[in-house]
């Protein structure tokens, strides 16, 4: 499982550098509990199906989501709105799609459309019951942070090339 996490870290750093225009600092990854309650304000989830199943989730506070949205659009919104949802959804979409390249020797995957979860005290319904969830905290804009969580495991299925 751990070896599958690196493509997500690489994709996340690359997306923030090239799309958002800022560098990230990845901190030490850790195992999360599947039923952890999220205290972030917004999360965006993409599910994987195909030769593996799992999900990747980006979570952050709304202030950071607003700054990232402003970096992409020039518009600053204090509250989460349609543009914030679009920005965070597109970022997780690009991370998931780019991470597939680093995983292509292991398995062929399909990615879902992003789903947005807003509010506090929510939990993520991970697709696989047994897979461990790895969370990677990232530092951004000096003192702020967000979290990327990944759970992915082979289904044993092989799809036609």
């Amino acid at each position: 499982m751990e070896k599958y996490v690196h493509p997500f870290i690489d994709a996340c750093e690359d997306v923030f550098r090239k799309f958002v225009g800022t560098e990230l600092f990845a901190e030490r990854p850790f195992f999360s509990h599947r039923d952890d309650v999220y205290t972030w304000d917004i999360s965006s989830v993409i599910n994987f199906t195909g030769e593996a199943k799992g999900a990747v989730v980006i979570s952050m506070k709304k202030d950071l989501a607003a700054k990232i949205t402003a970096a992409l659009t020039g518009n600053f919104h204090e509250e989460v709105n349609e543009e914030t949802v679009d920005a965070i959804g597109e970022i997780i979409n690009i991370i998931a799609g780019n991470a597939k390249k680093g995983l292509e020797d292991a398995f062929r995957l399909k990615i879902s459309l992003p789903t947005i979860i807003q509010g506090t005290d929510y939990s993520i319904s991970w697709p696989s019951d047994k897979t461990r969830v790895i969370s990677i905290p990232f530092k951004i804009y000096d003192k702020e942070s967000f979290c990327l969580s990944v759970a992915i495991e082979s289904t044993g299925a092989k799809e036609d090339a």
């Binding site: 090239k18 992409l72 679009d86 597109e90 799609g97 780019n98 597939k100 390249k101 062929r108 459309l113």
Partner: protein
């Protein structure tokens, strides 16, 4: 004046693509669609010179839109550049086999984007 159909479910990404296209300083008119179904409607309504097409979208995906239009004789030569986060080789191969003229992986690199559009329009 070229009519460029920009198909992406993200408005932010449509703006990024249109702004990147504008750096070519080519006279153009943008037509926007947020999924393949809307894109089919726009294609029937307006004479389009190029489609810039995302892959993952609701209602009708970019790859299914591409397969549908390539089955219609008058759209077989229409330039379609896929602009998508789908970076795996098997995705690129599927898109090219399905009739994509070219393929760009998000985040969009402005230099590569301009090269690929210029290659098509000359």
């Amino acid at each position: 004046m070229k009519n460029i159909l920009v198909v992406d479910d993200s408005r932010i990404m449509r703006n990024v693509i249109m702004n990147t296209f504008l750096t070519l300083k080519m006279p153009c008119n943008f037509v926007e669609a947020s999924n393949g179904k809307e894109a089919l409607y726009q294609l029937q309504k307006i004479s389009i010179d190029m489609v810039l097409l995302d892959w993952n979208m609701p209602q009708l995906s970019g790859i299914d839109f591409l397969k549908q239009i390539r089955a219609i004789p008058r759209y077989q030569a229409l330039p379609v550049i896929m602009i998508t986060s789908e970076a795996a080789k098997y995705n690129v191969i599927e898109a090219l086999k399905s009739g994509a003229t070219d393929y760009i992986i998000k985040p969009v690199d402005e230099t590569k984007f301009k090269e690929k559009v210029k290659k098509i329009f000359g």
